[in-house]
Symmetry: C2
Subunit: 179 residues, 2 copies
């Protein structure tokens, strides 16, 4: 269950409400672990019972009250414990790969159109990540200790997207050669 730990990491960086977390998950951390607000609220409730986080209500002007969560000592202990357990290697899981494998039983042109769409999506995502890297870490040679993790994760995203694009190109080439 990485969602709990993703939330702990996020709260260790900065306290937040469920709503704030949902927005963070739409942005930085969420590029590598998606979560809907419903899921976040549900898990936050469980984490509060487990004493990993605690909350207090904050009244706001012209806005609904919010419940701001912060990580507890036990939460930090759990983060430490979790970091020392090897992460299970998550197998690849790609519906697109299944489709590609079954192209001969389907609509070949539709699959190729799909590849082109995916290639464009990878390209856009690379541009987005590159811009983000440029903005937050203009000098990767000298990163603060607390920036290193986030930077390396961003690098992982860039590498993965570039690979996705390369794969798309290889697929298009192979199908064109075949025709």
């Amino acid at each position: 269950m990485a969602l709990e730990h993703a939330i702990l990491v996020s709260l260790a960086e900065k306290t937040a409400s469920g709503y704030d977390l949902a927005r963070r998950f739409d942005a930085s951390i969420g590029h590598f672990w998606k979560a809907s607000h419903q899921q976040i609220y549900k898990v936050l409730g469980r984490m509060e019972s487990d004493k990993w986080v605690e909350s207090h209500l904050v009244a706001q002007d012209n806005r609904p009250d919010k419940k701001v969560y912060s990580i507890t000592g036990e939460g930090r202990d759990e983060l430490m414990r979790w970091s020392s357990v090897p992460t299970p290697i998550e197998p690849l899981r790609s519906e697109f790969a299944v489709k590609l494998r079954g192209t001969q039983f389907g609509d070949r042109d539709a699959v190729l159109a799909d590849v082109r769409v995916r290639r464009a999506a990878h390209e856009a995502q690379i541009a987005y990540y590159e811009a983000s890297a440029q903005r937050h870490y203009p000098d990767p040679a000298s990163l603060r200790e607390d920036e290193l993790g986030a930077y390396l994760v961003l690098r992982g995203g860039i590498l993965a997207e570039q690979t996705g694009m390369t794969w798309c190109d290889e697929i298009l080439q192979a199908f064109e050669a075949e025709r």
Copy 2:
């Protein structure tokens, strides 16, 4: 729901029992879409009610009977329909990325040990895929039409694993430079 379609693709290639499918999912298709035998049996039941597949019992010597499934016309129609719908782009999902991001709140050396283990796993997987490619597709320049999809999927696996290894190297380098 790609499991249904992965099963349809597999059955379109060759009829199989649930048990056979489970073993195929441990081998070829399963490298890109894992499924337990329980999940496969469950889904096969649903697919039979939906008339996408049909089964008949086959008695065997010295072995339990088996229920051999084959794809129906409706199943092939569904495969065709599915192939023409764009595949939703599946977001990255990596517990390891979450951990890397939170390294400052955890046990740095344990995380680095984890990276080394993962690097070795990627290396082994590449060797396995390369051997598989060599054995099944020794001449990629001249593939039969029905081999192309499976070959390209294998290529995708190799590319992804290589990227995983590259990422591990980058992480190790960055942490060594920092120390």
